[in-house]
Symmetry: C2
Subunit: 477 residues, 2 copies
């Protein structure tokens, strides 16, 4: 028991120090290991398997909407990065520069891609000629580099994994439609697979992507009341097309510029999973994304027939992602590990259970125990996993809704941010000066102007002038 | 018809200029596009989809043997790369160096990984403590950079995509077993999925991997008689473990060094597919790896009912990867495109076919036509795809076997290499001096010492001393 305790006790309580709790979980659940390169982490099997599942689910959804995958070079020549003015200003300060190949200095520096708009634009300018070549709906799965000063596993790292979709369309309408379509796809995926409810909305001009006409975002609330931008979808209009000369001949034989979009999700989603669902025993993974959904833990496994029965049970549960922990550790230690790793269900089976033709199912999130006959265990596990998935979404939604506050005055705003971690909803006039002032006075940034608008006041919370939009504000990762 | 001809005629005949034919195919089949960075290509949807299928097939086979996927940083600090002497000598001349992050010069240069032995070793030195932590059987899918002077799509590029497996074992026996297991897995995959027969063998010391104790390889013969190294598996012994201090406590509480392996396959497999199976009409893809297996081409598609019937047929063939080409191009143009892209079967269906309740199936490799009733088309297509897959393997095997020559003297060797493109089998004494001399005199390199050894002479083809091994030689990509 001493050892069992050690594993659990070595996690800081989330109420004592949320940041330390987070770090403890990523290490103890063996999601990542720090590497010898500042700000770059190693994805261990337990962490990478979550990303593989995210990729599989998202990729299937992408392809169902006509997305095709491609792969672009990881290097961008400096002159290419410089082609779109806003874009280069946004990214140049945080790129890594390759200056030498082998022992030779390069004639032109290459940056390691922080994002690939410029590469896609250059590519599109070569392959798009006629309206027949449109739309192009391409995506790539890759890693990118951003030279961040402070880093944190999954949330902000020098290198991270992501997908970046880049599309080109004949009309502005079609581009806007695709931008919103992908944002909706992202939100749907997060809610239905990751059990994380999202606020969908538009970023203010201050917060939008470098080079975009409009940036749309999905924002989630973490357990500690901080916001996490979880995915973005950008409408570029024809700005990049003009900078890169991406034109097509329309049906009337006239030259037109294309309209473009881009959209991305990253490994920070794993951080969201941890911070929305985790507890003081470690990670809690929603069944639909968990690499292992059921861990069978044999009790008194040296007794004749126990390991055989556990193996038999695993076979029987082939419809799920199941493992048996038949290592020589104690059951208590195995329980702790299964909990730390966030495996949704554990099934305990020992000599007495076998005699009674039953097993004990324990839910990771509620710790609810169900004794179930082995004859109906398959159906039962299916039901419990489904229930757990929907309960987790509902819990996260309730947490978010009970941590969303309206503010009508700046005092109220500042007081809420200081004392009640969560989203603040407040009206805004649309001026960046007010946005800046709010950030300065409260530390909160605008998260988004939600698609679902309603008015809580006629005046801007900051300047008192006529309000234009309801805005979600918050402290953010 | 003028346009139809243009698409086909614009490919150089492989008999006239094989290198140009290859370049024409990769461009015309829209597998890649050149990028603005020297030696880096863009994988277009048709090219990347082949890689996705390779990944899917290989990854499933890996996991069935207990492999777990991870992801390591793309940067390696210079000091880490320098830790294993042979390894750094092999790779340092061809790495890209990052010297600046944002506007600051880095205290230590970082190389973009050419391969990740050093990162895995550093990682293993931190996470392996006891025999209970072994074996570690990790793999990653990623891109790597090697600063090559001359490049060619898929075959040799500055950046390429690959998987690299890195394992650590308690004993030398287990490491050797894993090395061979993965080589066999590679060969099996190439034969059964890519329809490319492989010679399995061991590399000479001259040709082995920088830092390895032994390198095993699979070698294929291309249509032009040149060899292509298609996958390698290395046994590192405990060399890296000693350089990086990777030790574990065994069951007797004694410190031991681990034994390691690594193994990799790359996007050059796509080059192999092109050069083994392609013909003067373009690419020919084996059914098992083809992103689209069947292209339905409606004939006189403006006639009532034709497009509907084509769509209905697509539904019916849901067990296969099927598309309908209902674009407004002419049927002849569509035939050329389907052939250029190597889609295994085309199904032609027009008003007369519909009236007769039939369709015409055309095989890409033999152009054999089969008229088949729509009632049994699903079964028939399954049979034809299977037959095509095995015919392609047999054709490739026959081509290789009829282009493999034995040489008993240096004159015979030189004459064969000069006049009969293919593999040369010749006996070798084991001295590198002879290997060097053979290369100098004939231009051929040793490909491998095949696992299946037989003697064709008692003496070395070069020096006349006692022969140790039969060796496959050839000109290689």
């Amino acid at each position: 028991m001493a050892n069992d305790k050690k594993l659990v006790e070595s996690i800081t309580s989330m109420d004592v120090d949320f940041a330390q709790w987070y770090t403890d979980v990523v290490k103890k659940a063996e999601l990542v290991e720090y590497s010898g390169v500042r700000g770059c982490t190693i994805f261990r099997p337990a962490g990478y398997a979550i990303w593989e599942n995210i990729q599989k689910e998202l990729d299937a959804r992408f392809k169902a909407t006509g997305v095709e995958n491609v792969y672009m070079p990881m290097f961008i020549p400096e002159s290419l990065l410089n082609k779109e003015k806003d874009h280069v200003e946004g990214f140049a300060p945080e790129v890594a520069w390759v200056t030498h190949g082998g022992s030779e200095e390069l004639p032109e520096r290459l940056c390691v891609r922080p994002t690939s708009e410029t590469l896609f634009c250059d590519f599109y300018s070569h392959i798009i000629e006629s309206y027949r070549d449109l739309p192009k709906v391409y995506n790539q799965w890759c890693s990118v580099i951003r030279w961040e000063k402070t880093t944190r596993p999954f949330l902000r790292t020098l290198e991270f994994l992501w997908q970046e979709g880049h599309t080109a369309h004949a009309t502005a309408e079609e581009a806007e439609e695709r931008t919103i379509q992908m944002l909706n796809l992202y939100a749907d995926f997060c809610e239905n697979v990751l059990a994380i409810p999202m606020i969908k909305g538009r970023k203010t001009d201050k917060e939008k992507f470098a080079g975009a006409e409009a940036t749309y975002t999905i924002e989630a609330l973490m357990h500690d009341g901080k916001a996490l931008q979880s995915g973005t979808s950008h409408n570029f209009g024809d700005g990049f097309a003009k900078a890169f000369g991406i034109q097509y001949t329309d049906k009337n034989n006239k030259l037109q510029y294309v309209h473009q979009t881009s959209w991305g999700m990253t490994t920070r989603l794993i951080g969201a999973l941890i911070m929305v669902h985790g507890d003081n025993s470690g990670l809690v993974l929603p069944p639909k994304i968990a690499p292992t959904q059921v861990m069978i833990i044999p009790i008194m496994q040296k007794k004749e027939g126990v390991l055989e029965k556990a193996a038999e049970l695993k076979e029987k549960l082939g419809a799920f992602r199941v493992k048996v922990d038949d290592s020589d550790k104690s059951p208590g230690w195995k329980f702790s590990e299964q909990e730390m790793r966030g495996i949704p269900l554990r099934v305990e089976i020992g000599p007495k259970d076998i005699e009674a033709n039953q097993a004990v199912i324990v839910r990771r999130d509620t710790r609810e125990k169900t004794v179930v006959s082995l004859d109906e265990i398959e159906t039962k596990i299916g039901e419990i996993l489904e229930k757990m998935q929907s309960d987790m979404l509902e819990r996260a939604r309730t947490h978010r809704d009970t941590h969303t506050y309206d503010a009508l005055t700046m005092d109220e705003f500042a007081d809420t941010i200081a004392n009640k971690p969560g989203f603040v909803r407040a009206m805004w006039c649309g001026d960046q000066a007010c946005e800046d002032e709010i950030k300065e006075k409260t530390g909160a940034t605008s998260r988004c102007m939600p698609f679902e608008q309603h008015s809580i006041s006629d005046t801007c919370v900051c300047c008192g002038k006529k309000a234009k939009s309801l805005v979600y504000w918050g402290k953010a990762y």
